[in-house]
Amino acid sequence: MFIVLSLSVLCLFFAGYVATSFLRAGGGLFDRFALTLGLGILADYILVMSGLPLTNVLAIVSILAVFGALMFAIDVIRRRRNGETRQREPVLTAACCIAYLLGVYYFFVFSEPLMRWDARSVWFLHAKMIWIEGALRGDGWVHPSLAFSSPDYPKLVPAIAAQLGALNGYWNEFFPKGSLLVMLVPLLLWVFSFRKKAVSFLLLAMMFFFSLDAWLANGYMDGYLAMYCGVALLLFGRYAAEGRDADLHSAICAAGIAACLKNEGVLFGVCLTTTLVLLAARHPVVGLRQFVRRLSATPRFAAVLLLAVAPTLIWTLRKRAWGLENHITGDLSTLVSRLMDRLTDGSTPEFILRNLTTEATAIWVVVGLLAATLMFVAYQRAPVHRGALVAAATSVLYFCGIYTAYLGTPTGLGFHLTTSAGRTMATASVGLLVCLYFLLTGLEASDATAGETSSAARREGR
């Protein structure tokens, strides 16, 4: 399995290299590797979504990977001939940390079979269905006996697991979880691209990994969703401060992957876009006008955006064609009346709020820390990182979205909150953590210009 997984990651990386070579993305070593792999994962998913047989998808990805490997080799040789040398980065410690985490997670993930409800009844049931069918087609998804498994959920991880099944030629309750490890690699690379010897990074890395550790291994998607959303906010924040195109591409790629993990990922994308529209409409770097101008003037940017958005659009069209409906938003008029009933019954709004903030989760810990840090930063007159505002606003909007979803849930509210509040709040918590991270970096001398767009950095990035 180790060899199959390593080859899969390598294949996806080189398939993604075709895109990143075209993008000529800048950035550090870890960012470039993560973006390349992320785009490879998205491209592979688009191929699966197109309805092609899995064997054909694997063949196409392999051909792309060979092509990408050749491009990679040519790039390396050309750079050596031209005497181009990239600035060496001190990556050894970080690389060791990543290798250690991947190593222990390899054993952790595969030591437990698929047994948790969401894992077995949703994500990896869908994976098995795709593997049995040999492709992602419309047959079977609307069968009444499968209604419990939420067939309308996105299929990124199931698609990867199904391809691992196609490579292995059999199915069991262990190896499909390898898809989780594939998803973990770009995450680790992106998070460690923020490495520095500071408390802020220690806090970020620790709270990222150790607040979500079980959900990164048991087959639930919530941990990965939270991490990808958090990484998107981190990268967007760094782009807002430093203006490097590589960060923008990576942020869009991470948000695109998040939208393919769970429906809440789409909600996150909507919240992030809304934040940018509301907060940064006239901003010279992240503003809406700048965004539209960049879209029309830079085909590379448009290509990344297309790769990131296409899977969600295709899946939306597929769902409509196959008659798949979400159990919360299915019937709009019933949803609205349920929402109004619960909003006005005098107790439900407070009940949900209490559950989401203090009873099922300890999100108040981060909110309290954020408030204290904000006051301290203001008192110290330290610069407030632009990413902090984007992260905070997106998290608050996301919280409101989830709150509304609970108000509209057709299942029993107590049951729904008990079984899912901790997981759904993970993304909001991670978003607030990112905000805390950016605020703390303002206290560090190395980030003295964090709040100011460095034109030099922008020039270098492009």
């Binding site: 054993f107 595969f110 069991n172 806090l203 820390l369 206290l443």
Partner: protein, 379 residues
């Protein structure tokens, strides 16, 4: 104190407090009784909610109901009481309305203060050995005023309130309860020391501390350390470290969870131990990955039996149905549907799985019978 720098004292006290908080969280002592709150006066049905209560009193009850309890309600607390010395103990409850105290699962309550009445005290005496004793305290309120308190005394001494540190959810040794109590006291002391260190630091920064030389020494060291760590100012560095310590000491991400540091330590331990265990028995680890259908043994037993019958060589079942008794178990039903796919669950299928305890419908023929489930063919 004169030889210890305030900053060192603060860091040492904070670290010590955090470590002790983690250790204390691991000791199952003094964590109170499990309280089950019912919206009826006779403890029937499922409780409206449960909580951990260290003081089963009127104040706790009112707080749990958020100040507005139902007209009639009841509460049941269950846990363990740990006593140090063996001897004759007298317990009393004062309640409005009824209360009962049961010790060591006895059939008759030790204190029976039941019924509908105003504040009334009843007592009972029992011999207790050293160690933990199962305790159940019941309280019912049938309208009107509400009151509850309880006390104990040993060998005829004056009654006193039962200390919170003697109550726990698990049976523990008395030494564990004492260790937990000592840890609590040490933590309070460290908190006081930390407060003292903060006061000294404030004085130092304000220039009224232990002399100009001392002040400059502290400030110089702080500036040097924070600059080396890449911070704009010593205050920023201290704040960042304090934020880290606070996060490590608080429950996160679960509201009712352990301190985050304990979670991190446990997670690292589990990750490493899993890896070491897998490497030590690498053959079994690899076999799980390489064997088709490996891991299905975690499925519910009925699901495993259904799958065995569906996969019997030579048997071709594309559609099946389940008896109402099997289908009534939501989880089992879902696991069967997920495991049996692409075979589909259909109401009119001829292959039907029934429990062996169920009668087979007329006209149906038993194809295979396993321990608990049978496959029948119904034309």
């Amino acid at each position: 104190m004169s030889g210890v720098r305030p900053a060192t004292l603060l860091v040492a006290a904070a670290l010590g407090w955090t470590v002790l908080a983690v250790v204390r969280a691991a000791l199952p002592a003094g964590d109170g009784l499990v309280g089950e709150y019912f919206t009826n006066p006779d403890w029937s049905g499922a409780p409206a909610f449960s909580s951990l209560d260290t003081e089963p009193t009127t104040a706790t009850v009112m707080r749990r109901w958020r100040g507005s309890p139902p007209e009639q309600f009841s509460v049941r607390w269950i846990g363990f009481l740990t006593v140090r010395r063996p001897g004759s103990y007298t317990f009393s409850t004062t309640s409005d309305d009824g209360s009962q105290l049961v010790l060591d699962n006895a059939v008759a309550p030790l204190v029976d203060n039941g019924g509908v009445h105003g504040p009334q005290t009843r007592s009972g005496t029992i011999h207790l050995d050293r160690g933990s004793h199962l305790l159940e305290l019941r309280y019912t309120q049938r309208g009107g005023g509400a009151a509850l308190s309880w006390s104990w005394s040993r060998e005829g001494a004056a009654p006193t309130a039962v200390p919170a540190w003697t109550l726990s959810q698990r049976r523990i040794a008395y030494s564990t309860a004492v260790a937990a109590r000592i840890l609590d006291w040490v933590r309070y002391t460290l908190a006081l020391l930390a407060a003292l260190a903060v006061a000294l630091l404030v004085r130092t920064f304000a220039g009224t501390g232990p002399g100009r030389a001392g002040t400059e020494w502290v400030l110089g060291r702080l500036r040097l350390m924070s600059a080396r760590a890449g911070y704009r100012s010593p205050a920023g560095a201290i704040f960042s470290v304090a934020a880290l310590i606070v996060v490590l000491a608080l429950p996160w991400p679960d509201a009712r969870g352990r301190p985050f540091l304990a979670r991190v330590v446990t997670a690292l331990d589990v990750l490493n131990r899993t890896a070491v265990h897998a490497l030590a028995d690498f053959g079994a680890f690899q076999a799980n990955l390489d064997t088709p259908r490996a891991g299905e043994e975690v499925l519910p037993f009925w699901t495993q039996e259904v799958m065995l019958m569906l996969r019997r060589p030579g048997r071709s079942v594309d559609r099946y149905q389940l008896s109402d008794s099997i289908a009534a178990e939501d989880f089992v039903l879902q696991q069967i549907v997920a495991s049996a796919w692409p075979r589909r669950l259909e109401r009119d299928a001829k292959a039907r799985f029934v429990l062996n305890t169920e009668p087979v419908a007329a006209g149906c023929e038993v194809i295979e019978r396993r321990t608990e489930v049978s496959l029948v063919h119904c034309p």
